[in-house]
Symmetry: C2
Subunit: 348 residues, 2 copies
């Protein structure tokens, strides 16, 4: 594993920790931006300025933001840095947009080891490169010790929409097939296992991954996609509830079809979680027109063999608009509702 | 003054404080978004979705982000909410862009009074309306008690650039005139006076204000603007140093010309601050071509009678590239450098 103390572009002997002055607008902040952020994010030739001017082709852009407060900062399969890239790239992709540009806002706690910051920055750099997005503008604030928690990151993203489809809940129709691109629950369980000190035979790794190339491949293949949603906080159950409610339709899924790894299922039982509500960071549901479902599923399966059809959209009557129901493994049907409380705090 | 406990759209008897579950992706988060954020930000008819799709005219966009961690949250002349709107609107304006759309990312501390959140949201709504920008997408995270500090806000912004000028340090040339749009130091001193419990005969109010309409008026009047910079963290001194260094020019200013109110000057002396380094939130410097300076100054003065010419850009020799010098009130010339340490932590 890389020794980040050796590669850190800020001399660690001199500045082992982040100081309040690293966010103060003076020499130390400029030093941090010029030595660490600009070279890492590939902007070493650009002049830092209040905002960045970008050339955009005529048409529609997608715009989104998310803050990341995950605890712990590093976990099997990822860290807060890669997560902050994947999460915002995925939110853009869910509108069917091609992600292009990200902003990064750091809120650092005074005393954060400089090496930790560098490790996160390097991870962001790699994740951005893999997801083919550029980090073009940023901001750094430092809060006093005990008023933050290491690192919080906000990323906002801009993408371009290169098609005329309205990929949104309003386009969902009865008859649509619901596809899931892989197994559920690994991100949330990886975090919780770490927090609770649980050990399994194999390490459960987060599924954190960028989803834009899958979405663009589906669009380029001419799949009639009606809606996309990534399954983050609140998991599959919340995503389906939001879409069913927004679209005014009824959704039926089949528990037998939903792929959950045995170790994840076991951990869920130990921790008292339902995998339907556990957060994922590389999973989406696609609502597609029935006659396009087979082709879409083949594209998904070429990337993940656990991709599958989990349900469909059905006609509504006055008393079941927005309802999500699930055929259970024993054949009964139950309502899958939004969660009332908090299942997994600070999971993203 | 408005009683925010009465107008708060979340019933305060039931939810007097923000809970972790308000950021958890379940019912409480949806309740907060649907009852408070969407109506306040004028999106009550829109369907919440991962990202927002916007129609943009062909051409160039400006993109920026800032996080706001100011302490205390409320201060004379503003609060963290209006500041989070003004700051990002101003960063877009500094590229000569017309600000259009903002994202908002909240990081709330568990236990935050719901009424406080509502007061901030209302302030953001008003500031966005005054600055003619729309809040189109957002995110809410809640961190456990003691891991945050009430409210942190990130805003990112998108604007359109409707002209062909490159308003950036690279366009600055020897001979350019440097204009300042008003008196210095009120934002930083308003905050520090509050923190230190200082009282003056009159309350010093923050200068926090949106600057886009001034910038657009200058552009529409045909002023040849070479560079703009708002004078936030690090104040006038840091802004001039950054620009002189990026542009590879020398900057000379005249201390006699720089407007600082008497009460602000007195507070600076008590607190040991130099007004040149104190943060402002409604002040900018404009580097304009010499023959446009008079007209530009008239436009600035029609908005603030303290607007003035503070200096100019001069030819460089090999040993003074990037240097900022100031003629002092007693006639001596001194170098105005970047500050090494932290003058005012958490001022924005």
């Amino acid at each position: 594993m890389e020794d980040f103390s050796l590669s850190c572009p800020i001399p660690i002997q001199e500045y082992p920790n982040v100081l309040l002055a690293h966010g103060g607008g003076g020499k130390l902040m400029h030093h941090l931006i010029e030595k660490m952020f600009l070279p890492a994010f590939g902007s070493s030739n650009s002049i830092p300025h209040d905002s960045t001017v970008l050339n955009i082709h005529p048409g529609k852009i997608a715009f989104t933001t998310d803050s990341y407060v995950i605890n712990p900062l590093f976990f099997p399969g990822g860290d807060i840095g890669s997560l902050a890239i994947h999460g915002t790239v995925n939110d853009l992709a869910m509108s069917g947009a091609r992600p292009l540009y990200l902003s990064v806002g750091f809120i650092l706690e005074e005393g954060l080891p400089m090496e930790t910051l560098w490790r996160v920055v390097r991870s962001m750099q790699q994740a951005a490169s893999e997801a083919k997005v550029k980090i073009v503008t940023g901001d750094t604030k430092v809060v006093d010790r005990g008023k933050g928690d290491g690192i919080f990151i906000n990323t906002a993203g801009v993408g371009i929409v290169e098609h005329d489809r309205a990929i949104a809940p309003g386009s969902v129709k009865p008859g649509d097939i619901i596809l899931l691109n892989g197994d559920l629950g690994r991100h949330g369980i990886a975090i919780m296992a770490l927090r609770e000190g649980l050990e399994f035979e194999t390490t459960i790794e987060s599924d954190s991954a960028p989803l834009a190339s899958l979405v663009l491949e589906l669009i380029e293949a001419g799949i009639e996609i009606h809606c996309l949603r990534d399954l983050t906080r609140g998991g599959l159950a919340s995503a389906l509830n939001e879409i069913a409610s927004s679209a005014g339709v009824r959704v039926e899924i089949d528990e037998n079809k939903i792929p959950v790894r045995e170790d994840v299922r076991g951990a869920c039982e130990i921790l008292g979680f339902d995998p339907l509500y556990v957060a994922n960071e590389g999973r989406l549901v696609a609502f597609v027109r029935e006659n396009a479902a087979q082709k879409a599923l083949e594209i998904m399966r070429s990337r993940d063999r656990f991709a599958c059809q989990i349900g469909s959209v059905t006609e509504v009557s006055s008393n079941n608009i927005g309802l999500v129901t699930m055929q259970s493994t024993i054949g009964a049907s139950r309502i899958v509702d939004l969660l009332s409380g908090e299942q997994l705090p600070r999971i993203c």
